[in-house]
């Protein structure tokens, strides 16, 4: 039994959902395979979207037409803007979500999305295109061309593009105390057989670990005795399509660990799987388990714990801050040492999960595997953590899979640059890294952080998405209207005099330290008639106040553009570059950066190495361009050599690759 699609996505988490949605939006028949279609879009860990760095990612996913922002707006029960006092470029939105409402909204969207078919089942193997007999080259290529997935039970889903988003399910093992059992999430089985299929391809894999805290019964906690953490009085939506959010809003609650808690942890460390040596995978430092906190920071008398409701009505609190894999009986005693939780009941104990990931250095920035055309990876399988990181990769992988189906194997990949998006930083970092802990976004990873604000994600990215057909007319219309509003307001700020201060303009007022949009409106009431939303206004303040720095970063971007655009072909042999230091050569061969710019960011590459590489690349381009016409050009140093550098070589490189790849692909598609 065999069905044909253009794109098959394996996995229905945040990566899989965005991958399938992006592919279907681009108009290609798409299948999403999930072990349990009822768990599509499930928040495995904390019931929240966004946070610092992550909120920017979620906004970018939305600006590219993704679903995450819309789902968060629909399921949000508390919205907060973080970092408001620290700087406008690092402001980040965060939404506490109703866990069930979020996944229901996701499932409804998936069901409504045209050209998307959700299929329940376990993908157990990859399918490959049958070689055409008689042509050894075709056999070689066909062996590498993926053609769908095989489900347990023998059902075949055929497709030239496959996106794997296995999350914690790939050979997942759950740990609570001494107990361990296979599974991807509590109560859900894992995917065991796909791991073998990936290793059979020779892909380098590793194990990572993540953890989750216990969930408490709301009724058993004395919330009244705890410090309340309300949301923003004027919540701001995630999606550029959302005009208004609907309450009611809830509060979170703050408690803390005590000396008693720490003593209990210390006394039972031998029963914690990480410390007993039962877990090999490494966990994230930015999300330490309670065990880690107590051991590594022994001098700290207490750690904060946030009790986050999983909905208005769920009756569950997520105990953020005490991720643990101690045995369930210890967890219960431990929770009761927290103020306000003296009689707390655990509904679901915390646990650690260990899973397999593929070392991301084998990926291109499109998230296609370098050696296995048509096969894409996204999310935790690439060594990242977080819903937002997963969604961002899912969108990139799904969009590129669909574009590949539409435009052929020589498609121009859709990947924003580092200077355009956190998403660009994410994939760019990922494909030249060899993570030994899950990769999480931080604003400090983005060297052009001042350009990448959450509030300008649509201005930065929606046009790029529109160009490739990833977003519909509504987003483009809204963007155009917003651009007009902002442009007009900017003109007024520049031109209109500041009342009462001769020679000054409105802009000068906005530039004053501590000035925000509210204060500006108070002083200049007529600006209320400019038709700007609060988000528009705050964005303007940032534009004006950061102008000088933004110019500096833009100049920097302009200078490095040439290097970022210079592609390093797959066929390029780094060993043939004369003069490279050993350390540099080793790093280049292992990580194979796709552009000269990416090569320059490797820690092992010195400026002189980069210069040599650039020269060698130009020589390579010159040589491969001439080969077809001129056999054995010998020792002669011809005029071609002299002219090569004057050619727009950046444009020549992709065309060159295109010619090579395109030929092979048309053969396969026939």
């Amino acid at each position: 039994m065999s069905e044909r699609f253009e794109v098959v996505v394996v996995g229905g988490g945040h990566a899989g959902l965005e991958a399938a949605a992006a592919a279907a939006r681009l108009g290609v028949p798409t299948a999403l395979v999930s072990l349990d279609p009822g768990a599509l879009g499930r928040m495995s860990c904390n019931p929240a979207i966004g946070g610092i760095g992550k909120g920017q990612l979620a906004r970018e996913v939305d600006a590219l037409g993704g679903w995450m922002g819309l789902l968060a707006d629909e399921a949000g029960i508390q919205f907060r803007m973080l970092n408001t006092r620290k700087g406008r470029a690092v402001r980040s939105p965060r939404a506490q979500c109703h866990r069930l409402r979020y996944e229901r909204a996701a499932q409804r969207r998936a069901a409504d999305q045209a050209r998307l078919t959700v299929i329940g089942g376990e993908a157990v193997d990859l399918l490959w295109r049958a070689p055409r007999p008689g042509d050894p080259e075709a056999v070689r290529r066909a062996g590498r061309a993926v053609d769908g997935v095989l489900l347990a039970g023998g059902r075949e889903l055929r497709a030239g593009q496959v996106v794997l988003t296995t999350g914690t399910f790939l050979e997942g093992v759950l740990h609570t105390g001494e107990e361990q059992q296979p599974g991807g999430r509590i109560g859900e089985a894992g995917a065991r057989r796909l791991g073998d299929a990936l290793r059979a391809l020779g892909l380098p894999t590793g194990r990572l670990k993540t953890g989750t805290p216990p969930r408490l019964a709301t009724a058993s906690v004395d919330l009244a005795s705890l410090e309340e953490q309300p949301g923003d009085p004027e919540p701001q939506p995630f999606s550029f399509l959302t005009d208004r959010l609907h309450g009611p809003w809830i509060s979170c609650w703050q408690t803390w660990t005590t000396e008693e808690t720490h003593a209990l942890v210390r006394a039972n460390l031998h029963r914690a799987p990480m410390y007993a040596g039962r877990i090999q995978g490494r966990g994230p430092r930015y999300c330490p388990s309670l065990e880690d906190k107590v051991v590594r920071f022994a001098d700290r008398p207490r750690h904060l714990v946030f009790l986050e409701p999983e909905g208005h009505d769920s009756g569950l609190l997520y105990a953020n801050g005490i991720s643990t894999s101690l045995p369930a009986d210890i967890q219960e005693r431990l929770v009761r040492t927290l103020p306000g939780c003296e009689r707390a009941e655990i509904v679901q104990p915390g646990y650690a999960v260990e899973y397999t990931f593929v070392r991301p250095r084998v990926l291109r920035r499109s998230l296609e595997l370098r050696d296995w055309p048509g096969l894409f990876l996204a999310g935790q399988i690439c060594g990242t953590s977080g819903y937002e990181e997963a969604a961002a990769q899912g969108l990139i992988a799904g969009a590129n899979a669909a574009l590949r189906a539409l435009e052929g194997a020589d498609w121009e990949p859709f990947v924003p640059g580092r200077e355009e998006a956190y998403i660009g930083v994410l994939v760019d970092d990922l494909v030249v890294s060899d993570p030994d802990e899950p990769y999480r976004m931080f604003t400090s990873r983005a060297e052009h952080r001042l350009l990448l604000r959450h509030d300008n994600a649509d201005l930065r990215l929606t046009p790029l998405a529109a160009q490739r057909g990833l977003v519909g007319g509504e987003r483009v219309r809204r963007l155009e209207a917003r651009r007009r509003r902002l442009g007009e307001a900017r003109r007024r700020l520049r031109e209109q005099p500041l009342p009462g201060e001769a020679g000054r303009r409105l802009e000068d007022l906005l530039r004053r330290p501590g000035m925000d949009w509210e204060a500006f409106l108070e002083r200049i009431p007529e600006a209320r008639g400019w038709g700007l939303s609060r988000a528009d206004g705050e964005g303007l303040v940032a534009d004006v106040q950061y102008e000088g720095y933004v110019r500096r970063q833009e100049a920097w971007v302009a200078r490095s553009r040439e290097r970022e655009a210079r592609r390093i072909p797959d066929t390029f042999d780094f060993r043939a570059v004369p003069g490279l230091r050993h350390e540099a050569r080793e790093a280049l061969e292992r990580l194979r950066p796709e552009t000269l710019g990416a090569a320059g960011r490797l820690a092992a590459i010195s400026p002189a190495d980069l210069g040599l590489l650039e020269i060698a690349l130009r020589r390579h381009e010159g040589a491969s361009r001439e080969e077809p016409e001129e056999q054995g050009r010998g020792e002669e140093v011809g005029e071609d050599d002299l002219q090569a550098p004057c050619q727009p070589a950046a444009a020549a490189a992709p065309a060159e690759e295109r010619a090579q790849n395109g030929g092979g692909d048309s053969h396969l598609r026939g």
């Binding site: 620290k86 470029a89 750690h303 490095s560 820690a603 020589r619």
Partner: protein
């Protein structure tokens, strides 16, 4: 790493009393921007290729004779607009002029940068560019040695102290930016000030201890290369008048010899000629091996690759590596062997035919040598101008740190303060190594119990 872009400069001649010094400037719009780039008192260069002699009032009542050479792009050495300032080689004048250029937005050229630009504009070909970059590479070792000397001279400590203080301050700030307040109860941004003060005083100390490069370090060095008895020493002696033991038996020269040569017909040029033991062929004495190894460590800017024109050469032997070369056919006064095969392989690359006895061909050799050395002159200087680089780095770091400090004092947003600290660290990274985002996160996680 920054690339391309703005205007750069380098001292293209060795400093030293009694010489004329040449400062070479290159930039895509240098001539258009000349008004804002050149210090007061300089003439308007215009857009024509020409030489302008003028008197420049360096100090009240003290005018210096300067010459400004104008080479409009693309017909210049780099393909961009190029200006050469010829001036008396007086250290304070040179120092002040370079500082003035830096203050006007120029920066010292990085190793290989003149060549890179020349290559990108199609002025030099790939082979030349590769040769020069390979040279820059070997030169980095030398620079590293020199830098080590400079850094050893009391500079390493303050530079590293500055980096540590800046990195700690940045980690503190970034922890505040990348984590919610509830996540990190330890954040003490109030304590940023001591770190910033520490960084500032360290940079000041470094600026005081900065050492200038030794005069003479910049003289171009020409290596004589060839098989034993190829006529290297005869040539060396004929040119420099140094007494070298010349013996018709191969392998006579076991010690390295160096002498300064002032080529006839090229006033103002001074080159170091270095004669070493022959390469290739059979060593006639075990001491040869040691001498050859020693010779390999020396810097060479250009090889004179000596081949005996009296012998027959069907093929070219292995060329010297690590620097550009000129093939020098020696012993031209004797009957020629069959050279056609080798010359065909040469394919138009530079060669000269000389006789040490009659002096024939020496002027031609000198002219070709000058041309090739000039092509890499800016880079040679840049490669060695450790003091210049260091000065520019320290100045940039200091500027950003000051901006960061005053922003912090004024209560500016943290992300802008962080941006200045990042720029300051970036300016120092050539000396102290790069602080990657991962390094920063490591620092942060070591210090803070952070995250939920």
């Amino acid at each position: 790493m920054q690339t391309g872009g703005g205007a750069i400069y380098a001292l293209a001649t060795p400093p030293g009393p009694g010489e004329r010094a040449v400062l070479r400037l290159s930039g895509p719009r240098l001539l258009e921007e000349a008004r804002s780039i050149l210090p007061p008192g300089f003439p308007e260069p215009g857009r024509e290729r020409r030489a302008l002699d003028f008197a420049w009032a360096w100090r009240p009542g003290l005018a210096l004779e300067l010459r400004l050479l104008v080479f409009p792009g693309p017909g210049s050495a780099t393909g961009e607009d190029v200006l050469e300032i010829h001036l008396p080689s007086v250290a304070p004048v040179l120092g002040e002029l370079q500082e003035a250029l830096r203050a006007r937005g120029l920066r010292p050229a990085r190793p290989g940068e003149f060549t890179r630009r020349a290559f990108l504009h199609g002025v030099v070909d790939l082979a030349q560019a590769e040769a020069v970059l390979a040279l820059v590479h070997s030169r980095q070792e030398e620079e590293a040695r020199q830098a080590a000397a400079v850094l050893g001279g009391g500079l390493r400590e303050p530079l590293e102290e500055a980096r540590e203080a800046l990195a700690d301050a940045l980690a503190e700030l970034e922890a505040g930016l990348d984590f919610e307040e509830g996540d990190a109860q330890d954040l003490r941004p109030a304590e940023l000030r001591p770190w910033l003060e520490r960084a500032r005083s360290a940079l000041e100390t470094a600026a005081l201890r900065r050492v200038r490069p030794q005069p003479g370090a910049l003289l171009p060095r020409i290596g004589l290369y060839g098989e034993p008895n190829a006529g290297k020493s005869t040539l060396f002696r004929a040119l420099t008048g140094e007494g070298v033991l010349v013996d018709p038996r191969a392998g006579t020269t076991r010690d390295r010899l160096e002498a300064v040569w002032e080529p006839p017909g090229l006033p103002g040029r001074r080159w170091i000629l270095a004669d070493g033991p022959g390469r290739g062929g059979a060593a006639v004495d075990p001491r040869d091996g040691a001498a050859r190894r020693r010779a390999r460590r020396d810097r060479v800017d250009l090889w004179w690759w000596c081949l005996d024109a009296g012998r027959s050469w069907e093929r070219l032997p292995d060329a010297p590596a690590g620097a550009p070369w000129i093939l020098v056919w020696t012993k031209a006064d004797r009957p020629r062997g069959a050279l056609a095969g080798a010359r065909a392989e040469l394919g138009g690359r530079p060669e000269a035919v000389v006789s040490a006895h009659t002096g024939a061909g020496l002027e031609d050799l000198a002219r070709q040598t000058a041309r090739l050395l000039d092509a890499g002159a800016g880079d040679r200087a840049a490669g060695l101008a450790v003091g210049e680089h260091c000065a520019a780095s320290l100045e940039a770091a200091r500027r950003h740190l000051e901006a960061g400090r005053s922003a912090w004092r004024a209560g500016a947003p943290w992300d802008l303060v962080a941006e200045e600290l990042r720029s300051a660290l970036h300016a120092l990274e050539a000396w102290t190594g790069r602080l990657t985002p991962e390094d920063l996160l490591d620092r942060l996680f070591q210090r803070f119990c952070i995250g939920k």
